[in-house]
Amino acid sequence: MPAWLFIFFGALAIVAAFGVIVQRNPVHCLLSLVLTLLVIAVLFIAEGAVVVGFLQAIIYAGAIMVIFLFVVWLLNIPGTPAPGGQLAPKFIGAIAASALGSMLFAFFSEPEAAVRAGAMAADYGSISSLARVLFADYLIAFEVTSVLLLAAMVGAVALARPPKNLDAKRDAEEPRRDEAAAG
């Protein structure tokens, strides 16, 4: 990856990441996040992690973000009002975040010297080399992942299902809503 391309993608990632935290409309935040994830996928591919880069684009920017979008639409949030509330927590939060940022910058400024470059296999980043490590060294973790996903699925359904008494409550409210719509 040439340096100018890295500068372009890096700047795009940072601008899009700022877009996530400064925009009012959650859908716009989400679209910025998708852009950030796609740029990170490109950087993964540039770093030799081809399979993981494509997985990032398909699973992360595709599937997980679509769940977010569904929830944003489902909740039908009224437009966020002008920023208000207490200023002190925001002030402290801004200071804390910038302190962490500068600390990370100081910490990461010279890792090149600390890392001993290893020999890279010819098929580095390919599906077969990923699978060889995944199904040999990390086999148990991989199998446990299936249990994790099952538990998450059951938990999500159990949490998001409306409670039993909600139906009665909704039935009681329904005629009033119809009248309001008619009027």
């Binding site: 890295f6 996040l33 509330g85 990370l104 949490l159």
Partner: protein
């Protein structure tokens, strides 16, 4: 090949922006998105370090982080839906029931 320094600096910048989002925003959905941003910043650091070390383990860990993020997104969004149903709000200042 891009210097590892710049990759790590980009990763640190993205992570800090995610932290700022969690600390500054009050919308619980945007806070959640900022958490995803932090996860991705760490993934970027993993991949670039793994590239320099010449091991595939970093990519496998990124794979697991993605799986955990998917599970976390599903459960977290279900919790948000469940809270929204009770409170009709996504502002974290309205979820102070456990605050003493």
């Amino acid at each position: 090949m891009i210097s590892l320094n710049y990759m790590m600096l980009l990763s640190g910048a993205l992570f800090s922006i995610g932290v700022a989002g969690v600390l500054l925003r009050r919308n619980v959905l945007v806070m959640f998105m900022s958490i995803e941003l932090m996860l991705n910043a760490v993934n970027l650091a993993f991949v670039s370090l793994g590239n320099r070390l010449g091991t595939m383990d970093a990519q496998v860990i990124v794979f697991f982080v993605m799986t955990v993020a998917a599970a976390e997104a599903a459960v977290g969004l279900a919790i948000i839906i469940s809270i929204f149903r009770n409170r009709e709000s996504v502002n974290v200042d309205d979820f102070t029931l456990l605050k003493w």
